[in-house]
C-alpha cells in the first residue's frame, strides 16, 4: 500500500509544467488533488518516476466568466463548485453534480480537470461535460489546442491528450434560460462510484437534445437517438440507448442504464 519511489516537481506556470513533462518523458505524470491518482499510486497501479504537481499554478485555478461560456481552470476543486465559489452557467446543475461526487474531503482536494483526464467512465465530470458540450483546452510542447469533449475520451481511462500535454481548462458553453439539464446515477452506497449514469439536456432555443449514458465499460456515450428519447422515452428507445452504450449482451446493466437514463429524462420536466 505504499507508492513506488518518484521525484516530485512543483512548477510555477504551465510553461514550466510542459517543460518538466517533456524532460520526464513517459515516467512523468501530472498530479493535482491526487484523489484518483493517490489510490492508484498506493496500489502501484501506476508507477511514475516523477509527479508534476499542478496545484500551485495560478492559471489552472482561475475561472473566467465570458458572455458565451465559463472557463474553469483544470484545478478547480469539486468543493469550489459545490459551494458556489465559482460561477455556474447551468443554473445550479454543476453545483448539484459536484455536491454528489464522493465525499467532502475528496471534493476539497479533487479537481475537475483531474477527474476528466483520469477519464473513469463512472466518474461524474466526464458524463457531465459530454452532456454540456464542453471544450477541453490542452497545453503541450506544440502550444495550445482545443478539443471538443465529444472527441476527448478515447477509451476507458484514455483521452485524446498526447504525451507531454496537460489539460489547462474546461470551457462550458452558456445556454438560454429555457435550457434544462438532468442527471441520475445509481450508487450502491452514497458517494461510491455509480453503477449507472443517465443524463439529459434539452435546449429549446437551439433545438438541441442531448443524452448521455455513463458508467460504461468504455467512455461515456453521447447517444445518437437523443431527440426521440427526450420526446418519448419508450422502453424500446431506452433499450436501444443502452445497447449503443455497450450493454446489448448484459441484461442487468442494460436495464440499470436504461432506467437511469429514463429517470434523468423524467427529471427534465420535473
Amino acid at each position: 500500500m505504499k507508492a513506488v519511489q518518484f521525484e516530485y516537481a512543483r512548477p510555477k506556470d504551465v510553461a514550466e509544467a510542459v517543460k518538466l513533462l517533456a524532460e520526464g518523458g513517459d515516467g512523468a505524470k501530472c498530479a493535482a488533488g491526487t484523489q484518483s491518482l493517490g489510490p492508484m499510486l498506493n496500489l502501484r497501479v501506476v508507477q511514475p518516476t516523477m509527479l508534476v504537481d499542478l496545484r500551485h499554478i495560478e492559471e489552472l485555478k482561475a475561472v473566467t466568466d465570458a458572455p458565451d461560456a465559463v472557463t474553469y481552470g483544470a484545478c478547480t476543486t469539486h468543493a469550489a463548485v459545490e459551494d458556489g465559489r465559482v460561477p455556474d452557467p447551468t443554473g445550479g446543475f454543476l453545483r448539484e453534480i459536484a455536491s454528489n461526487i464522493a465525499y467532502r474531503p475528496i471534493r476539497n482536494r479533487g479537481t475537475m480537470g483531474g477527474s476528466l483526464v483520469h477519464a473513469d467512465p463512472a466518474a461524474d465530470w466526464p458524463s457531465t461535460m459530454l452532456l454540456l458540450g464542453a471544450t477541453m483546452i490542452a497545453a503541450g510542447p506544440a502550444g495550445r489546442r482545443e478539443i471538443p469533449v465529444e472527441s476527448f475520451f478515447s477509451s476507458i481511462f484514455e483521452t485524446a491528450l498526447k504525451p507531454g500535454e496537460l489539460l489547462v481548462g474546461i470551457r462550458v458553453p452558456k445556454r438560454g434560460a429555457k435550457a434544462r439539464r438532468a442527471y441520475w446515477k445509481f450508487c450502491r452506497k452514497t458517494g461510491e462510484f455509480p453503477q449507472a449514469i443517465g443524463a439529459a439536456l434539452l435546449d429549446p432555443d437551439k433545438g438541441e437534445s442531448r443524452a448521455v449514458i455513463g458508467a460504461t465499460l468504455s467512455t461515456p456515450i453521447l447517444l445518437s437517438n437523443a431527440k426521440a428519447l427526450l420526446a418519448k422515452p419508450t422502453d424500446e428507445a431506452l433499450g436501444a440507448a443502452a445497447d449503443e452504450a455497450g450493454f446489448a449482451d448484459d441484461p442487468y446493466n442494460r436495464r440499470l442504464h436504461a432506467v437511469a437514463l429514463r429517470r434523468a429524462i423524467e427529471r427534465l420536466s420535473a
Binding site: 500500500m1 505504499k2 507508492a3 513506488v4 519511489q5 518518484f6 521525484e7 516530485y8 512543483r10 498530479a31 491526487t34 484523489q35 491518482l37 493517490g38 489510490p39 499510486l41 498506493n42 496500489l43 509527479l51 504537481d53 496545484r55 468543493a79 464522493a102 465525499y103 467532502r104 474531503p105 475528496i106 476539497n108 482536494r109 452506497k189 452514497t190 458517494g191
Partner: protein, 161 residues
C-alpha cells in the same frame, strides 16, 4: 538510482516543521512516523474509509492519498491539534454520551467529519448528516450513536444562537 527526496516546511498543529521526505510518503505516514503523531489512523490507504481524515489548510482532507511533499507550505491540523477546540470538545462529550465509539479506530476521522458538518451545515437534519458521514466507515459501533452525537451538538448550538 539515488533515493528521491523533497525538502518540506509546513505547519503541523500550529508548530513549524521542516523535514526531508521521500515524495512517495503520504501525509499520514509523515505525521505518524516522522512527527510521532499517531492519532491519525490508517484504514484502507486509498481514500475510501475516512479513518485518516484531517484538516489541510482549514478543510477536511484524506491524508493517505495526499503526499507530504504536496503539503509543503500547508497548514495541517491532526486530531492532536483539536484538544482545546470548542466544537471538538462538544463533540467529544457528545460521542461519550451517545456511545458513538467502540474500538475507536474510526473516531479521529469521524470527529473531523463531524466537526465539518457542525460548522459548515449548522441546519443539517439526520438525512444530511448521514450523507455527509458516508465517507467515514465504522465497522463496530455502527452509525446510530455517531449520528446521535452530531445531532446533539447541532441541537445545542441551535439553542444557543
Amino acid at each position: 538510482m539515488t533515493k528521491p527526496t523533497a525538502r518540506i516546511s509546513l505547519t503541523v498543529n500550529g508548530r513549524e516543521v521542516s523535514a526531508e521526505v521521500e515524495p512517495r510518503t503520504h501525509l499520514a505516514d509523515f505525521l505518524r512516523e516522522h512527527e510521532l503523531l499517531t492519532g491519525t489512523n490508517l484504514g484502507c490507504e486509498h481514500g475510501v474509509c475516512g479513518a485518516c481524515t484531517l484538516e489541510i489548510d482549514g478543510v477536511p482532507s484524506r491524508s493517505c492519498i495526499t503526499y507530504a511533499a504536496a503539503c509543503d507550505g500547508a497548514k495541517v491540523r491532526s486530531i492532536e491539534g483539536f484538544e482545546s477546540d470548542e466544537v471538538m470538545e462538544a463533540l467529544r462529550a457528545a460521542f461519550t454520551a451517545e456511545h458513538a465509539l467502540q474500538c475507536g479506530y474510526c473516531t479521529p476521522g469521524m470527529l473531523m467529519t463531524a466537526r465539518d458538518i457542525v460548522l459548515r451545515l449548522p441546519d443539517a437534519d439526520e438525512a444530511r448528516i448521514r450523507k455527509e458521514l458516508s465517507g467515514n466507515l465504522c465497522r463496530c459501533t455502527g452509525y446510530m450513536g455517531i449520528v446521535a452525537a452530531i445531532r446533539r451538538v447541532l441541537a445545542d448550538r441551535r439553542k444557543a444562537r
